[in-house]
């Protein structure tokens, strides 16, 4: 501006013209995005599900250095804000992403950075846990994407209509499938004095193929009575993960994968999202049998902190090729018993960067 106005030889209209053009272009893109979102919402209300349709933008996403971008985003959001600025920033975030500030456990001035605010705890009593022992509760705030019963020897879950991924790829190569279902569900008379939870914990441990080094299979048949539920957390949602039931966590697997976005557009256009993205899988047993929970990160929320294992580090700079996805696995001691977690207890938290 100053060099142009000082007669330095430049076009005085170039900078303001370029600025106006950029603003108009961004505005047009935003309007187009809102229009597309509205069409998708209307289609959903009519019961129409849009099919998997990869496009050039999705292909381009895979070329981006998403991990460094995610880590940079984390660095930016961890900057400590002046106390006077904090309420304004967090109110703006809450307004943009529909967060309920009334639930935050502490005054807004108490959260030093946006990252700290993002992983905030809630006031006591904000999330009552359904006490029915037969009830499995949601581990997170979010939107139900998909749920149902899994069948067959290689059960698949739909990422979106037209594209599905295997449960074994999501949880780990030998998890759950195939399960031993003959002659091992119930023990003899010595087990009768144990509680149902203790029985199913021990027998489920024996029938789980979580890791080849854990046990030897006796016989194999297709899995039965297996269910799933996929829950999406929007940026404004409470981002801590709680236990859905009383259970014993026996194994933890950490997949260092990509950090592709997980929004609706991405699920419709990018294949293998949930089985390629960085994620932490907890596997164990509850009174109904086997239980597994996969917490999957995304570009803007790239790290997963496990309260059961505070030293676990996620969203690290990756030097090796990500082509071969081998999880890092840890068996919780004591082996065969694992770590007991009560329903409703905090298990993990997602965070930025």
């Amino acid at each position: 501006f100053s060099s142009a106005s000082n007669g330095g030889g430049g076009n005085p209209f170039l900078m303001p013209g370029a600025t106006v053009a950029t603003i108009l272009m961004l505005g047009a893109l935003h309007v187009r995005r809102m229009y597309n979102d509205k069409k998708i919402e209307e289609a959903r209300e009519r019961g129409i599900e849009l099919e998997f349709q990869p496009d050039a933008k999705a292909a381009f996403m895979r070329l981006l250095p998403l991990r460094p971008i995610s880590r940079l985003w984390g660095s930016m959001t961890s900057v400590e804000l002046p106390v006077w600025l904090r309420p304004h920033v967090y109110r703006a975030w809450a307004r943009a992403f529909h967060s309920n500030l009334e639930e935050a456990a502490f005054p807004l001035e108490g959260y030093a950075s946006l990252q700290e605010f993002f992983v905030r705890t809630l006031k006591e009593g904000s999330r009552p846990i359904d006490p029915d022992p037969q009830c499995l509760v949601s581990p997170v705030d979010g939107t139900i994407l998909r749920f149902g019963e899994l069948k067959g020897v290689r059960p698949m879950i739909d990422q979106v209509k037209g594209f599905s991924y295997s449960v074994s790829a999501l949880l780990g190569a030998s998890s759950f499938l195939p399960l031993i279902t003959e002659g091992s569900v119930h023990e003899g008379s010595s087990e009768e004095d144990k509680t149902p939870t203790e029985k199913s914990k021990k027998t489920s441990w024996r029938i789980s193929l979580a890791s080849p080094k854990v046990q030897d299979p006796v016989s194999v048949s297709p899995v039965t009575g297996l269910f799933y539920c996929v829950i999406y957390l929007k940026p404004g949602d409470y981002h801590r993960v709680h236990s859905p039931v009383d259970w014993s966590v026996l194994v933890r697997r950490h997949f260092s994968g990509h950090l592709l976005p997980l929004n609706e557009r991405a699920t419709r256009t990018i294949s293998n999202l949930y089985v390629e993205n960085e994620r932490v899988v907890l596997e164990g047993a509850w009174q109904g049998g086997l239980m597994a929970m996969a917490a999957i990160g995304a570009t803007n929320v790239g790290s997963i902190k496990l309260f059961t294992e505070p030293d676990l580090r996620t969203n690290q700079p990756i030097r090796k090729s990500l082509h071969v996805q081998q999880p890092e696995e840890r068996i919780y001691e004591p082996e065969g018993v694992g770590m007991m977690i009560k329903k409703g207890n905090e298990v993990a938290a997602f965070n930025m960067g």
């Binding site: 009552p128 499995l136 509760v137 994407l145 759950f176 009575g225 509850w286």
Partner: protein, 42 residues
Amino acid sequence: STVVLVFQAQAPKSSNEEDSSPEFNFCVKRGDRIRVGEALGR
């Protein structure tokens, strides 16, 4: 971010039953907003 739950839900079998039957009913539907602690199913 996304959370995927995969779980078995076998009812305990009684002495006169050969196999335990899967018994789990979801009480949500697609698109529902849900919060921590609310029932997914029983």
